[in-house]
């Protein structure tokens, strides 16, 4: 599969501060890629380098197989973006804003503009509010309009920074459904976020940035692979301790953590020994745990 986004030793230095430190990103076609990192870890700077807004100090970046920022004029028309919150011309309506954005840049056709704008508004559920001025929009409506602007040219790649920011739970679900639907139809999604739960629910691949360095880049299912330990919840915890002796690694009331990579076999041996089992299953590490282990104490991060 072709890499939709690739970087090699991409580095950005602001004065003495190394904001992004030699990262090698790889986003494959069809991915929903979760780009995680604490505030100030260099996420936004990286995204801006990919879009040609910030110029890299060294290293290389390719988007849709072409060098950025050199090929920006041919690459960016196929990329939809939402970077650090939506922004509009406040005195114009939502519809007028989209029409203006649609008209910007090379090779934009007036033909079909109305239909493109209508479709984008429809997709994000703003069809009825499009005629209102943006300065009367709520945070959630702005967010939707920002996503609509990103969808205007049915992009091959969506680069979205905190796309569900400011949305209510219903709105978050709608947007998630929309993005996953687009992804099924072939759009690659690059989702930059600090919401682990959101990334865990949507993404297939994850990259974690810590103080400018890419500390993790892997398939989500690999990261969440079983740990070789089994969680057992039982009211007979004392009995299990005696039975398995040294294999119990931790105990928290009725909850035991047992070193055993075959939960089924463990279950049988426990039941055979007369232990009442309430719950039993392989331990999977949550994304939160994976990320926290790989990154430094966020209290130490002072660079933004």
């Amino acid at each position: 599969m072709a890499a939709v986004v690739a970087t090699r030793a991409l580095t950005k230095r602001y004065g003495r501060v190394l904001a992004v430190d030699g990262i090698d990103l790889e986003v494959l076609e069809g991915d929903v890629y979760g780009f995680l990192g604490a505030n100030g870890s260099g996420k936004t700077t990286t995204v801006r380098m990919l879009l040609g807004l910030v110029l890299a100090t060294s290293g290389e970046a390719w988007v849709l197989g072409r060098r950025m920022p050199r090929a920006a004029a041919s690459v960016l028309p196929e990329v939809g973006t939402l970077v650090e919150g939506p922004a509009f011309y406040e005195h114009l309506t939502g519809r007028a804003n989209l029409a203006l954005f649609d008209a910007m840049g090379h090779g934009s056709r007036r033909r079909g503009r109305r239909a493109r704008v209508d479709q984008a508004l429809e997709q994000v559920g703003l069809a009825v509010s499009g005629h209102r001025k943006v300065n009367g929009y709520s945070l959630g409506m702005r967010q939707r309009l920002g996503i609509a602007a990103a969808l205007l040219r049915t992009p091959r790649l969506l680069v979205l920074d905190e796309p569900t920011n400011g949305l209510d739970p219903q709105g978050i679900r709608e947007i998630r459904k929309l993005l996953l639907g687009l992804n099924e139809r072939g759009t690659t999604v690059f989702l930059s976020s600090h919401l682990l739960a959101e990334v865990e629910q949507m993404c297939t691949r994850v990259g974690v940035l810590d103080r400018g360095r890419l500390v993790i880049q892997d398939e989500l299912r690999n990261l969440r692979a079983p740990t070789g330990r089994t969680v057992v919840v039982t009211p007979d915890a004392e009995k299990v301790l005696g039975l398995l002796d040294g294999r119990v690694e931790a105990r928290d009331g009725h909850r035991l953590l047992v070193r055993a990579d075959d939960p089924a076999a463990l279950n049988r041996s426990l039941v055979d020994a007369g232990v009442r089992v309430e719950e039993l299953g392989p331990e999977r590490r949550g994304l939160e745990q994976v990320v926290l282990e790989a990154t430094t104490d966020p209290g130490q991060v002072g660079v933004s």
Partner: protein, 274 residues
Amino acid sequence: MIRVELVKMLRRPRTWVTIAMLNALPTLVAVLLAITDIGPQPGQGPPFLSAVLTDGTLFPLAALGIVLPLFMPIAVAFVAGDAIAGEAQAGTLRYVLARPVRRTHLLVAKLVGVLAFVLLAVVVVAGVAYVVGRTLLGGGDARTLLSGVTGVSGASLTSAQIVQRTLMSILYIALSMLGVAALALLLSTFTDSPLAAALGALGFLIASTLLLTLDAASALQPYLPTRYWLSFVDLFRSPILWRDVVRGVLLQGVYVAVFLGAAWANFTTKDIKS
């Protein structure tokens, strides 16, 4: 992109409020003149103002003379200072550039937008002043039209000459304002605050105006941007006194080229962090 910029400018309420405000002072002056019938002595006060009492058709020029030294530069500095910095502050700059609009294109489109604003402002001020001058101060009678209008030097100018020279002075004023616009645009590429860019440009102009009154600065004076601003008056002498007008055009041309070149060099290599 140029079309997009023009649409943005024309649909922006601020554009029209600014132009309305530009018209307020000349209109007030016309009302005062019409009521009191007291004009400044010839050679004193704003240019042409002593002549308009006898002929209202000269009022457009008087109006431009009134707004040019202060109000027009303020308006232009704010519009041009807002060009890039305003988009940066609103956050739209990153989306515009990611469409993508090439940075050079954006800068050119912004400049054309500012120029269009300058021309629109000059033309509206002149047009409103013409209507106001004719209605309040008179001068539209057959006698004046037949005998022609008295120019600044006292010699008569025909109506055709007046129209021609008014158009020339509008262009000259537009070029003077383009110098202001270029400076404000340059500053606008350095900051995310439109206010800072506009005030920086105005500060430069105020410094220039101040140095013009200082004898010790006489060596600098021929190069100060505001030195030849009011030289458009010379276009109404007969024959036209070209010397200062030509110098003014050349000087503004150099300022515009230098400021725009610097703006381009800065903007095309800048990290957009807004």
